[in-house]
Amino acid sequence: MNDTFASKIPALLAKYETDLLEEWIKAQLDATTLRKDLLSSADLRRSSDEFLSLLRRAATTGNLLNLNAPEWLPVKDFLAGVSRSRASQGFTPSETATFIFSFKQPLFTRLQEECGSDSRALAEELWIATTLLDRLGLFTAETFLSSREDIIKQQQLEMLELSTPVVTLWNGILALPLIGTLDSSRTQVVMENLLQTIVETGSEYAIIDITGVPTVDTLVAQHLLKTVSAARLMGAQCIISGIRPQIAQTMVHLGVAFGDVITKASLADALSYAFKQMGITVLRKQN
């Protein structure tokens, strides 16, 4: 690629802007990939028109290959907006990128007319045009993905908050029903929540229920043991409940020993154990 080659593209865009726009819109409307269900032809015209005028303005600087330069910012901002709104409307990333890629045909046709029989110049022009439009198309795909990722990260954070409720079962008895995967970051939140609530309520017993934890491997076991030890240091006794038969067998094979930690099959068993320890008796009312 020859850097000193002066592309005709900026001049071409300025000279034929209206023609290019009409040809481009026609090509988009004719394409079988057009989502008529999601995009009206008025919207299509508006975004095509805006993109083309922004592209023309950015191209006048003559820099067609460095999209990191400030003159390309308006184009990128516009595309990011298009990409985000289309993502939320239900377009796929390829459909969004096709919006840019479909501009190749009208542009290439014009370039061909402009260069005439000069095939060397045509090759150079086509290379520049295709590189530029590919980069812009990929940029829309990247924006699409990063907006998706932002949503996923947000949801993960919300899950962290949601999934660690500490509930008071009785005066002095807390319960922590764990549900789902106990990876390190979640366990950290769980542990902090539990210890904090122990302090706030002055509870003597904390029941950690793992009925909803599908896999208890050595790391999960270690996290549980650490939580129990920390609670014990603060004067609260932990009871681990909800150990299902398959989990119990697996833990025995793994060699995980809970030592002197009290474990119970169900939350009800754990509660009745805590009652007994606290000297509370539950009686059915006699008539």
Partner: protein, 136 residues
């Protein structure tokens, strides 16, 4: 006897999310082979241990899942591979209670007890490969 590979899948193991994914896929496979609940849990737990080793000790790698059928029985074989620092002393690493980083130290020895076949090969500086299989 020849093992026929009925199904095959490669799972990249680079992050905690990949460990969760590996567990989920293996769980689905064990269900499709009608493993008992205990056998499902054992294999999934073994996968969890080895996948975490691959991510944390091996600096990332991959797991190859194969569903086997030797005409008498069906099973699942998994091969975990990484290009990490490797294990210098395999006997020590397999010993219960030995840990290189303050964990319970039951991962490898425990995993071996959870599966029917277990094979570990490692070369310091080159990486580690663990192959396990569990038959129905």
């Amino acid at each position: 006897m020849m093992n026929n590979i009925v199904r095959r899948e490669v799972i990249p193991l680079l992050s905690d999310e990949d460990i969760v994914r590996a567990r989920k896929i293996v769980r689905d496979w064990t269900i499709s082979l009608k493993f008992s609940l205990v056998d499902q849990t054992k294999l999934v737990t073994a996968v969890s241990e080895l996948a975490r080793n691959t991510v944390e000790h091996g600096g990332g790698g991959s797991a190859l899942l194969e569903m086997l059928d030797d005409s008498i029985r069906r099973g699942i074989r998994l091969t975990f591979e990484d290009q990490g620092p490797g294990i210098a002393n395999i006997d020590q690493a397999m010993t219960d209670g030995y840990s290189s980083r303050g964990s319970l130290g039951l991962g490898l020895g425990g995993t071996k007890r959870l599966v029917n076949e277990f094979d570990l090969s490692s070369e310091p500086g080159k990486g580690t490969r663990v192959t396990i299989a569990r038959w129905k």
